[in-house]
Structures are given as structure tokens and as C-alpha cells.
Symmetry: C2
Amino acid sequence: MPEATSADGLTVGQAATRLGVTIRALHHWDEIGLARSSLSTPTGYRLYTAADLERLHRIVVYRELGLGLERIRAILDDSATDVPAALRTQRQHVADRIEHLQQLGAGLDRMIDAHEHGLLLTVQEQTAIFGPRWNPDWSAQARQRYEGTPQWQQYAEQSATRSPAEWQSIADTMADLDRSLGESMQAGFTPGSPEAQLLVERHRAVFSASYFSLTRQMQVCLGRMYESDPAFAAHYDGVRTGLAAWFRQSIDANARNHGIDPDTASWH
Amino acid sequence: MPEATSADGLTVGQAATRLGVTIRALHHWDEIGLARSSLSTPTGYRLYTAADLERLHRIVVYRELGLGLERIRAILDDSATDVPAALRTQRQHVADRIEHLQQLGAGLDRMIDAHEHGLLLTVQEQTAIFGPRWNPDWSAQARQRYEGTPQWQQYAEQSATRSPAEWQSIADTMADLDRSLGESMQAGFTPGSPEAQLLVERHRAVFSASYFSLTRQMQVCLGRMYESDPAFAAHYDGVRTGLAAWFRQSIDANARNHGIDPDTASWH
DNA sequence: CTTGACCCTCACGTAGCGTGAGGCCGGAGG
DNA sequence: CCTCCGGCCTCACGCTACGTGAGGGTCAAG
């Protein structure tokens, strides 16, 4: 049995189901004067006539197109408004928002990649930037070890915004630092000497800017790894024989100079 | 002269300009506990330290990716949250919104087309649906005459949502009506007879459902045009000789029966 | 007369701030 | 010392388009 469509009109609930909107929406449109029911029962029930429903239907259509209620009101009430022009403006807005969202999506993709791979570079680019002795597996290993730590997150967020050129610049800076370390050792500066201290602090600054904030405690742990990890040790000793040990000792000495016992330092 | 970066930290204004956000945003993030300044002067000024700025920067990045503040809070504070998973969820949201907006855009395009051309059918489709005697220029003429009137707007909005199949159904209904009109005239029913009145009301209902709400006053004007416009007259007289005049008279008679003087009726 | 479905009017909550209002602080000039 | 201007502070309401109850009448059926 269909609803007894009394000739007077439909109640809010009936109108709402016919239009596919909520009762509250109809109430709201009533409140702001966008669409009032032209009839009502003596007890205050709203009754929507066929003409009311036509207007409501137009509202629903324009609302589905993403127009704001005030713009809809203008279109419906002000016959002077240029409807196609208003629609074209809205079309432009939609296009703009789509483009913006697509950029957001691309940024998210980069960020996801950064979190999952650590480096946003192809293997070819990695070799070109970090040199032939770079092993592409290292970033995967680093990810396995540090994934989930705040440091990894910070690193991932930064690397998501880095272009190959910026990676190149980082690699150059690092290579510069390696050279300086080798020259200092070669020149006879010992761990603990002012020159060595300066270089250790320079390493901390460069590292913090390139990867993530490095405390002196963390730097101590890193130095130990440089010496004990075969790959890292080979890298530094490749610059100058004995450099891995010299650098670790310099870091330890610098930490001691800042009141830290390198033998109890932890990564935190 | 750069700002005197007092070692303690930056004031809100300085932090805001560095981060590219407003002061109010920083206040807001403070209010909801997302990012508090860890220092403050005795007089209550906020001072943001370097660590604070790091956190703020991360917030800015994630906010630019479209994440909500609560989600950002989870990522920053709760090391247990799976960051890539959260990002992928967000990526899906963005993709969904893009698709939705693209549908909106398509709907807007249809609506704009409908307002500007009146019919969303190719000339071929028009001929196939309305028959070989249909003249594609008619819709352009109708647009020139009625553009800007509420009736045209209603018509355009409806036709924007109509598929060729629905147009076919409308054409069929109209053809049915034409046939019935011709048969009634042929059978000798006169304008004003109950049979003729029924057909006139049927025309009004069909027309209102297919194009726009038609009052009896408007129907009278339409009937006069059917008789006087050569194209329309040819159409009806092609169904049955003399049908254009018979139909116009039937509309007039029906209007009179409803208390309307057809000679003073206006389109409104 | 009761019951359950429906209706009414407040009125607060949402996300992320914008935008004043009204008033205190800090450094420079007179 | 006073004043002035720019910067800072804390309320606190405003914005979109309703969602979601709270508390209470209304309507048709049993």
C-alpha cells in the first residue's frame, strides 16, 4: 500500500525518503530559509507540496554537484544570475581541487616509498651518486634494523622531499668530510686534539642535517659501528688505512670532553 | 640584520614565519596539545626551541599531505602506529575523493551542456529518436527564446540527467499521444468533449513530466503556437489533417472549463 | 487507552582555524 | 620618565552543512 499521498502534501519523512536526503537536512534548509514547506498542519507538521518538491529536487541536484547552499539559493531565487557561468566557475573549482588532490597523492606516494625503501633513487642513480662501492642492499638493511623508530621516521620524511640532485649534494658533503678526516689523521692530529674535535662536531652537524638529529650518545654508538661493521670499516680504511679506528677514537674523545662516558653510551 | 635568535628559542611570530603557518595555527596546536612550546618567558610568551621546531616541521609536512591533526598526533606520539599503513589509508581517501570530484566534474559538464544546448544528444541520436522530420535547429531556437527563464532552467536540469534511452521513451510517449489525438479527431469527438478534455490533460501531464511544469495558461499559449508555427502545424497535420486546429481548440475548451479565458491567457 | 512510529523545537558538536576584542610587554624616541 | 608602536596574551564567537541526541507532543491502529 503506497503512502496515502494526501492531496495537501508530504510530511518531512516522506519527502526525505523520496529525495534521498535526511529529515535533518530538510529542517536545516527550512531554518536557513532555503526551502520552506508552503503548508503545515494546525499542529505544526510540515507539509511539502508538489511545487515544494520540485524546488527541493533542484536543490538536491545542485548540491550533488558540490555547490554551496548560498550559491544554490542564488541560482534558485535570483533569476538574474547566469546559471551556466556559475556552473563553469564551480567546474573550475572542481578541476583545481582535483589537481591539488593529485599533488597530495603524489606526495603521499613519495612518503610511502620513503618509509618502505628509505631511498627514492633507482639502483643506477644510487651507484652514480654514492660511487661504485655502494651496495644497494644497505638501505634495505638499515630499514630492517630501524623501521618504526622515530629516527627512521624523521629520515623517511626528509628523504621523501629530496631530489637526486640533493642526494648528490649530500654525498659530496660526506665525501668532503671523509677527505678531511683522512687528511687530519695523515697530518698527525690525534683523537682528542682540537682539530679532531672540530671534525667530529662537523660530522654530527652534517649527519643531523642529512639524515636525522644525532645526539653525542648516538654518535658514539655510530662510531663503534663504523669500526666494527666490516662494510663501514672497509669504507673508512679505504679512504686512509686506520681511519675507522682513528675516527671512532676521536668520537669517543669528543664525547668524554662533553661529559659522556663512551663505554656506557646507548642509542636511546 | 637577521632576528636575534636568542639561544632560548623563537617567539610565535618568528616560528610562524619560518614554518609558513599562521600564529593562530600555532596557538591552536598548543590548545589541543599537539605541539606545545617547551619554554616560555616569565610573562607568558611562548618560546619554541629547536626541538619544538622539528616537531612543528613534521606537523606541517603531514598536514600538507592532508592528514587530520588527530592522525598526525598519533603518528608523532604513538610509536606503535604503523606510519606507512596510515599513509596508505590516507592515499586511498585521496584517491576516492579524486574519483568523486571527477564524477562531479562530469555532472557539471553535462549540466553546462544542457543549459547551453538544451539537448545532450548528437544530431544522429536526435534523428534516430525523434524521426527524420526532426530539425536539429529547433532546440537551438528554443534555447534562444527561453534561455534564462525558470522553465528553461528546469528543463535543462532534467535533461542533464537523461540518457538517450530516456529520451527515446519520452519520444515514444509523445508519439503515442499524437496517435491518440489523431484517432479521437477521426472518431468524431469534438473539442470540449470529455474524450478531448482527457487527452488535453494527458498532454499536460506528459509534457510536465518530460520538459517542465505546464500550467493550463501556458498550455493555451502552447496550443496557439502548435497551430500558428508552420513546423509544429505541419507535424500535427501530418498525423491527421486538421489536427493542429482541433488540438488548439480542444486546449482552449479545456481551459474554459477550468475557468480560464483562453483569449487572455499569458505564458507568465 | 495504550503503543509505536512519526513529528516538533532546542541546542550542542564537528575541523581547523579566522577574526576581532580587550589588554599586557618590550624596546626605541623624546 | 613617558609614550608609542609592534608583538604577544587570552577569551570567545564564526564558519559548512548538517549529525545526534534530549525532551516532549501527535497520529493511527489495536
